[in-house]
Structures are given as structure tokens and as C-alpha cells.
Symmetry: C2
């Protein structure tokens, strides 16, 4: 590396590498910006990743999901490059598409190596192209898992704010979005809480950069699931469902209170995006998934 740390992070350095650098006007402080519109009615709309659903082939999984009352399917990151296969399978299904669960591309976009960051932008744009083609609501994006970058929290945040607004605008043009996902500290030291994610969305200042929340990570990092969802507010476009130990919702002892608290938050912000399974399962999936769906509907009703 021939640039200093400071140079590494500058817009000029990024521009020299051929990146379209967008720096929108910093959003005005807006403590109430994400306040719920009282007229906006929340809705409980179920989705799932393919992993938790039993079945060997895609059509078999999709049929079971329809049978169980799922409204949408969340697509895996590896559908990038296999769009035709997914299009074909989904053509025969009544299921809609929720998000594309993509990831971090090895943290490329926030790497300490500028060349990798250029590659990271290309890869994220590629995922956006796929999400657009398949009709996904957004691309779930993690800036970096632990050990994927040598940069610090502040440095990563500076890069994200430097680069993501333009990528968000690119996604908007393609009728989709980037969805930041806060994880827990065991997986990522950067972006662990929904309030932090919401502050990044606000600072990015484009509806092309929104976020999601995952009950499993929230169980580890948040002190209030309701408070976290209120902070996410109108930036929240997707939710992952799991028990506190990442099996089916309802399979852990404290799940009922936990979900009611979180669902109160979703109702308060008028959330009507998808709630999507990303979890393992203790026991027979064909028995446990319908139980989990019933559990979730009960907690939503009680919230």
C-alpha cells in the first residue's frame, strides 16, 4: 500500500480508482423523522429463506411454502449468476419474492485495500442487478464480518457514507434497495444495533439505502426489541425471524415475551414489510414450521 490511512479513506483516492463518489448533503438531524404515521397500518407478512424449508429441490420447497401460507420467498446470495434457474422455478409459484440475502463479499467494499473496495462496489452492484431482475425488495448487505477488514469502526462508517449513497441511487433506478443488516458482535463488530443502522440510513440520505432487523441478533445486542424497531422506523424494510438461539421462533423459553415486545415495535411503526425465517430447527421441520407459524401469529395478535 502506498497511501496513508487518511488518504485511503478520502473521496479523492476513491475517485482516482474510478469510483463514482457521491456525497449528498448531510441529512438534517431528525429525531422524529422515522416516527410512525398513525394512519399507516402494520401487516404481518410471512416469508422464508429456502434453507429452513424441507425438500430437496426448489419446486418442492416452494410448494410446501405455499401450502403453509407463506406469502413470499427470500432468495439466497448464490442466485446471482443463476437467475434463469430461479426465474423458471418461481414462474410456477404463487409466492412473491422478498429480499436477496447477499452478504458482505468478504468485506470487500470496506477493505483496507482500495482496489478491493472497487471490486466490492462492482459485486454489490451485480447483486443489485440480480435483485432487480428477480424483483427482490432489496439486497441484504453486511459491510464486514469480523476479520474481513483491518479498518476501525469510524473508518468503515466513513467509507460506507462515502460510497453507499451512490450505490443506493443505482439500486433505486433498478427498483430495488440496499438493506443494511446489523449483526451481533460474534459475527461483526461494525453495525450491531438497529439504532446505529438507522443513523447510517439517515446520514446516507437516500431511500436506496434502508435496513433490516433480525430477532436472533437483536436478542444478543439490543436491550429492547421494541425500542430498536422504533429507532429503525421507516428505514426498516425487512425482518428475519428466529428464536433467541436461532432455531424456530417459539422453540426457546422466552420467545413469547421477546416476540410480543418486538411485534409491538413493528406495529408502532406501521411495518408492512416481510418477516422472513432465517433459522435452524429442533425436531421435524414438517411439524415444527407450522407450529412456529401459529406461534408467530399468536404473538402478533397479542402485541
Amino acid at each position: 500500500m502506498t497511501v496513508t490511512r487518511r488518504e485511503l479513506l478520502s473521496s479523492t483516492a476513491m475517485a482516482a480508482l474510478g469510483l463514482a463518489v457521491s456525497r449528498p448533503a448531510h441529512a438534517a438531524p431528525a429525531c422524529c423523522a422515522s416516527q410512525p404515521a398513525e394512519s399507516k397500518k402494520a401487516a404481518f407478512r410471512l416469508s422464508s429463506q429456502l434453507g429452513p424449508i424441507p425438500g430437496k429441490q426448489l419446486p418442492e420447497k416452494l410448494a410446501l411454502m405455499e401450502q403453509w401460507g407463506f406469502e413470499a420467498v427470500e432468495l439466497p446470495g448464490n442466485c446471482v449468476g443463476k437467475e434463469e434457474e430461479f426465474e423458471k422455478a418461481l414462474k410456477n409459484s404463487r409466492l412473491k419474492i422478498s429480499a436477496l440475502c447477499w452478504g458482505s463479499a468478504s468485506g470487500a467494499l470496506v477493505s483496507e485495500i482500495p482496489e478491493k473496495r472497487v471490486e466490492g462496489i462492482k459485486l454489490l452492484k451485480g447483486a443489485i442487478d440480480t435483485a432487480s431482475r428477480l424483483g427482490c425488495i432489496g439486497v441484504i448487505y453486511v459491510p464486514a464480518f469480523n476479520k474481513q477488514t483491518k479498518l476501525t469502526n469510524q473508518e468503515i462508517r466513513a467509507i460506507v457514507l462515502d460510497v453507499l449513497p451512490a450505490i443506493g441511487e443505482y439500486a433505486l433506478q433498478k427498483k430495488t434497495r440496499v438493506l443494511l443488516e446489523p449483526l451481533n458482535r460474534k459475527e461483526a463488530f461494525f453495525l450491531r444495533q438497529l439504532a446505529d443502522g438507522a443513523a447510517i440510513c439517515r446520514d446516507c440520505n437516500t431511500p436506496g439505502v434502508h435496513m433490516m432487523g433480525d430477532f436472533y441478533h437483536m436478542a444478543i445486542e439490543e436491550t429492547s426489541a421494541m425500542g430498536a424497531f422504533l429507532s429503525a422506523g421507516s428505514y426498516l424494510d425487512h425482518v428475519h425471524l428466529a428464536s433467541k438461539t436461532r432455531v424456530m421462533p417459539g422453540q426457546d423459553p422466552e420467545d413469547a415475551a421477546f416476540y410480543q415486545d418486538g411485534f409491538r415495535g413493528l406495529k408502532a411503526i406501521g411495518y408492512h414489510g416481510y418477516c422472513s425465517f432465517e433459522c435452524g430447527c429442533r425436531g421435524d421441520r414438517k411439524v415444527e414450521i407450522p407450529k412456529a407459524l401459529e406461534f408467530l401469529r399468536q404473538q402478533w395478535a397479542k402485541a
Copy 2:
């Protein structure tokens, strides 16, 4: 420095420097731990720092505060070492004492230099002694303002979790507490949001380490004042009042909606600690302070 970065942060290194290292069992994930007890009734209890109150001498300020209906006074950090002077002035006042607004001691406790950290602990314990003697509810503590430490976010957090639980226990024995204060990014890159502060309190796992919130900093860093207070939950022991630009509450255009949103959060968590003025003033204080008090009572009633 003769120790590596890793050694610098280790408990062993701290112990070698003569520090009492306490590492409590990591608190179990508790997304609902700070949920409001529905029976707990919130109360709006007013306090102020001395700075915003007109008057040259302490007795004059205290008399005005009583006249205006303040319940308590927040003491400045420089009362450490001047306990007798403050005791004398306060003896003739009906005002109670809220917090001791102390600060960071130049970020000593989270310095990159281990010897400074030892000094930082001594200084914080000294402030706790003063708070205890004067009957303060807690010592307001900022780990580091910007440029006061070379350590990163993660490194500072590791030190805080290593050292603060034992200091919190020390404070508890003295019938007071350490109160972490989240600031905005222009003042501190570490600890900017209430949810982050609450997660640190939870991880410290002692009622000797609690936190506060400040409407001014929250206007910059939080996307939802209500969400932030819900996340702070039962860890919240003190609140600072100011308008969005840090003058008297109500002096900025959007203050009404902002305060109603925050007060809804305080009511939801059954907050009954003090709300204390830390702000400047546009105009004549003798006119503007009573107006601000009326403004605040109105927003509390509407929330």
C-alpha cells in the same frame, strides 16, 4: 510504551498496574430486560445545572430555582474538592441534589497509556466519593471526548467492560452510581446512542453502572427519541434537557414534536429520575426559563 496493543488491553496488564479487575459473568441476552413495569408510574421531576440559572452566587441561583419550582440541582464537576462550600450553600436550600456532572478526566480511564488509565480510575473514584458525600444520584461519566484517546471503539469498549463493573460496585457501596453519557459525534466518537449505552450497562451487569440521555445529543444521533429511551429502559437514571440547538427547550421550531416523542418514551419506561437543564438561552433567562418550564410541562402532559 513497552507493551503491545493486545497486552495493553488485557486484564493481566491492568492487574500488573495494581488495578482491581472485575469481570462479572456476562449478562444473559435480555431483549426484554428493560421493559417497563406497567405498574411503574412515570414522574416529571425538574432539575438544572447551575450554569443556565441567572445569578452570581450559588445562594442566589438556588433561591431562583426554588422559586421557579425546580426540585433538584445538578452539581458541576468542579465541586470535587469544594465539597464544604457546596454543602454549606445547599444546607439552606429545599432543593435536592440530582447528579454530579463530572466528565471524562481527559479520557484518562480509556487512554492508550496504561499508567493514565490507573490515574483515570483514581479520579473517577474520587468523583464518586464527592457524589456520595453530597448525596448525588450518580456521577455523569464520559469515557472519552474526541482526541482524548488513540484507542478504537472496540478497544475502548473492552476497557470499559473490564474496569467499570468494579468501579460501579464501589459506587454502589457509597450509595451512588456511575452514569454513562452518550454524546454526539462532534464531541465523542465512542458512545453516541442510548441503545449502545444500554448494551454497555447490560454487559457491565451491575446496578452501579447506569446511564443518562441528553435531548441535544439525541437530536443529532438518534432517529427516534422514544425508541432511544425505550432501549435505555431501566438503565436510565438521568436526562439532560435542551432544545435541538442547545438553548432552552421550546426555543427551536421542532422542539414540541421532539419532546413529546421523547417524553412518550420516558412515560413508557416509567421514568421517575430527574430531567435537568444543560443548555444555553436565547434572550433574558428570567423570562425564558419560566417559559421553558411551562413548555416542558405542556409537552409532558401531551405525551
